[in-house]
Symmetry: D2
Subunit: 367 residues, 4 copies
Amino acid sequence: MAGSTFGTIFKIMTWGESHGAGIGVVIDGCPAGIALDEADIQKYLNRRRPGQNRYTTARAEADAVEILSGVFEGRTTGTPISLLVRNQDQRSRDYGNISKLYRPGHADYAYDMKYGFRDYRGGGRSSGRETIGRVAAGAVAMKLLQELGISVRAYVSAIGPVRIDHSHMDFSLIEESPVRMPDAQASERAAAYLEECMRAQDSCGGVVECVVEHVPAGLGEPVFEKLDANLAKAIMSIGAVKAVEIGDGTRVSETRGSENNDCYASDENGAAYKATNHSGGILGGISDGSPIFVRASFKPTPSIAQPQSMLGQDGSCHEETIRGRHDPIIVARAAVVVEAMTALTLADHLLLAATSRVENLKRLFAK
Amino acid sequence: MAGSTFGTIFKIMTWGESHGAGIGVVIDGCPAGIALDEADIQKYLNRRRPGQNRYTTARAEADAVEILSGVFEGRTTGTPISLLVRNQDQRSRDYGNISKLYRPGHADYAYDMKYGFRDYRGGGRSSGRETIGRVAAGAVAMKLLQELGISVRAYVSAIGPVRIDHSHMDFSLIEESPVRMPDAQASERAAAYLEECMRAQDSCGGVVECVVEHVPAGLGEPVFEKLDANLAKAIMSIGAVKAVEIGDGTRVSETRGSENNDCYASDENGAAYKATNHSGGILGGISDGSPIFVRASFKPTPSIAQPQSMLGQDGSCHEETIRGRHDPIIVARAAVVVEAMTALTLADHLLLAATSRVENLKRLFAK
Amino acid sequence: MAGSTFGTIFKIMTWGESHGAGIGVVIDGCPAGIALDEADIQKYLNRRRPGQNRYTTARAEADAVEILSGVFEGRTTGTPISLLVRNQDQRSRDYGNISKLYRPGHADYAYDMKYGFRDYRGGGRSSGRETIGRVAAGAVAMKLLQELGISVRAYVSAIGPVRIDHSHMDFSLIEESPVRMPDAQASERAAAYLEECMRAQDSCGGVVECVVEHVPAGLGEPVFEKLDANLAKAIMSIGAVKAVEIGDGTRVSETRGSENNDCYASDENGAAYKATNHSGGILGGISDGSPIFVRASFKPTPSIAQPQSMLGQDGSCHEETIRGRHDPIIVARAAVVVEAMTALTLADHLLLAATSRVENLKRLFAK
Amino acid sequence: MAGSTFGTIFKIMTWGESHGAGIGVVIDGCPAGIALDEADIQKYLNRRRPGQNRYTTARAEADAVEILSGVFEGRTTGTPISLLVRNQDQRSRDYGNISKLYRPGHADYAYDMKYGFRDYRGGGRSSGRETIGRVAAGAVAMKLLQELGISVRAYVSAIGPVRIDHSHMDFSLIEESPVRMPDAQASERAAAYLEECMRAQDSCGGVVECVVEHVPAGLGEPVFEKLDANLAKAIMSIGAVKAVEIGDGTRVSETRGSENNDCYASDENGAAYKATNHSGGILGGISDGSPIFVRASFKPTPSIAQPQSMLGQDGSCHEETIRGRHDPIIVARAAVVVEAMTALTLADHLLLAATSRVENLKRLFAK
């Protein structure tokens, strides 16, 4: 089934394996007239690129993007935008033990059960390199959102037991922190914790948060295509995510209605404003104009350097070690992926919401 | 946009407002040959019906379903199944204050911003009665799953601060508990807590868990149509859900890889088995044959009997009370909705997975 | 598979069998704010109703439509519009021979091969009554088109060997003619030809033409979602249609480029205008602002009163006669179905085209 | 809108302009386990390549395809297959007059009205080179069909006034004929007619027919996703097609039911067989196991070397000549495009039909 396709109007199709010729995406349905060049996309790809620091895998890839279609004289034409990133580091190597073993925490077994065989080189399509297509397409969605003044920003709010202090959050620190935490103290503690994990040949989980600002009210469709439902799908589709929360998230289950309802207050001019934002900017699945908050919990990198008990194709149990170097955490590089999926969801919903009223159509088509 | 449509092959379209003629759903894409009658559907609708006990709204509706098409001689024909539940309790009443006010925690403001006006009677399409269409369609999906031996069961695991003890869980208690908790002690404590909330003219949140057993491995599609991504969308699309978790959910962010990976062990015959199920039955977005665990956090019922500060259409602030009686919690009646959305998602993925291998097509079409 | 669903944004799902409880349609994605009541829909249903004259089946059905949802205070709300027509003439009768025979020219055999069994009463889902859902939804699409000044009109241009003279066409005659021909002389000759067919216990084919006027330029999407491609699908999906033509249609294969190209000429003010319209208003799949012409060739009604050689479920040949009275032609009642499918296609493309330029989004969402 | 996407399960997305970096397609949803290499695709591309003979444009392009993903150890993996054909002949040249003029018979004006501007180099996305993506994807669909014994073959049946004699049709002549006519005499007459057109600086139209053999009964979905409806869309989406016919096509409008119905006859063993195939293998939108016949009427190449009256961006009329060499007919190279679109439609319907019965699912998923 066509599982590598995302979106209804702003639709993308991603493709590529970690050890094939390359990774890419085609965007079908991007409106015409948006200024776009390769640098617009490359800056997002650089944020997910491996080899950025000691907490990311050393696999060295430039991940340079080429725009193959859909842009003419510096602007999108409304026709499909094809983006290509060639793989460079495709050393042929011995996958001998992995090709016949199902690694814990990986999709190996599930792929074999589904397809009858699998591309076992580097995880094939379940590789983290698959997210290149998401980030490249997300960069284009971001350009569309920027035309309307909407901003999307993701950061790391927890690594293992280390949590940031939201009251001291400073977004200007995100790209300075090797773990993308907008809190200098937490960032240092997280780095220390990661060193400990690496010494123990282990990995750890974390949390990415994403905030969307200046969203128009009215995005999202009742009943199944709610904005939060689509954000949940978009974020949960990122490998390693096991939970998605909107606004106060899991905490709502412990609150009372009088605490959780976002009541209104009056400003000095008598105008009402939403005094709190427990809902995270979405009510009944539709944006209410407040900032949108999404939170994703990532599991630890499943590839760890210590021996583990794996399932063999023959049905027996094998104690084996996965070779190669792997990121001890996913979240630092995944923040830009969360941003991309959020931007793609919002771009699609913006196009969907454009036709909610017959008045809108009259404004656009009346002569 | 067509937001009331769900599924790719097993596709449903729901319709209806709480104060209109009725609520219904059409199922387009259900395979032929499944035994189906109205009782199969009614038993699920009865579990979400109002008026079951003192913790559910007193609005009395029989919610009797009629099958209008798609069944012949007791079996599904493969063509659309139309299901209708007429509304009975449509007393015309004075919505005066609500029609011009935006209630906190409700979709009122967002709907008006989207459509330019709204059906303010009982919340219109954002009413909880909308879930009748989900539950009716879910009952049909359940019949399909049962043909393949798959079971889906949801229950309440928390109400406010009261959590069940999973080590003492007894599914036979679910329907005996007025709050659908499979733990007699927790159920009693929850009832006491609810009485307290009701005395305080307040409501409270809760958690629904759902377990799917005997799922074949191989359901779910890489990359965006992952089984967990679609479950997340399905569950988050239920009004009042603010978080969706798969397997260990948010807890994974605090664990290490060596703890979170589900390693294998050998049984007495030397056969390997998955020793743990932190992943909740889904790896890389594809079912691995283990039970699937999904968890949904519901916010408190936003309609409470105490005065609240609301936004008026004129932009000013109004202290008002919402009339009528409302459920103090959502979760007890929402469990069957979670079950329905889970069943709909699995039914669709079952049909999608059927064509993953060319061998499957040869088995079905070879002469 | 979900074959009873049509459209991407303006999406409909039809349901119902000729001998079940009723026929209906749900429209999901209609913009809010369109004035709509049952009379708007009933007038189109009346044009396809049986029993209008001696060339239509005597089966007497009022086909009265009920709006079940999606309209509040006389206007569409943006949420699903559910329309229901109850079947009245469901006499139980003996289908004995037909239930075990596959009638020539009907879908009986194909349905049995597909589903393993079928609802043989009156053709089940392949009955002509299925078009009630199309016409009812088409009436809503027509209301949307009217808001933008677009008109859609279909008429019969041929019955068997009788063709209208396009140079004498008078649209005011359509509803006066029992065969819906906009040419009084051709209408009389067609009536005489039909009498001859009926005496011979036979049926005959015909042609429906449809013209769309005042369409904005720019509707239709390159490459696969061309406006003409979607019109072709929409029209070919009507039972009994075997050919769809746009503009000059099949005749283009015999012409030269210099004849077929629509060149421009200058009017007295020096302004250019398209001097001809061989293209039928669509170039490269996109409307060019000229009137759109679509033509559908219908096969003769397959149910005829003379004995025919049929296939039995046992694989042997049976000489049998189909009981009951049937229309000798389809086209007179099918014209409104062609109108409906054309309107549904245009309405969807109108919504799709609204987001082709980023400027459109700025106009709608800029604060 | 996402107009460059085709198919529901076997889904493709094509991209690329004639004067950009290249042309390509991604196939998302192809089943795993099909043997596939570049030669399987190249042989189809070679049949649509320019420069094959004097009736095709001299633009020399090797059109060599590269498989970028989705194939491992010679077999499809079930994940997206990305195919790339680099453009070679991208000479920068002066498009001066064409960039400001709307050519008759071309999509220039419609694109500008839709998007606000266009890539005027070689027609941009409305170029005939767009069909490379269709043909490459069609080759993969053909591999899937071949696994099930289904064959698809297209040929030219008419060029201008020259028609083949179906009673003398010989498929072995198709690739020997420079105009792809399976009738040696007609092929010679067509060549003579083309010479005459070329001398007159003109082009001419033609007809492509396509026959599908050994199709299982039961493909196609009632009501809107009928097999013939989707074939009509697929074929009408090819640039320059103005009519699509199934089986007897437009001729059915002049026949009687007793002539058009395909009755059954008995063979020597008493077994019934369909004595005729006026329906073209599809009844009620579902394949009946007989060969499927589809016919497409192509308009003459709109680019001709004689001066024509064009519309200027300023609204005035301009007498201009289109530079460059162009094919005098489209059909000879378009036959493989019709084949491709037919194969893509059938492949998708094969996957859709696999889940029509619950018995099929039991066969695939029962343990």
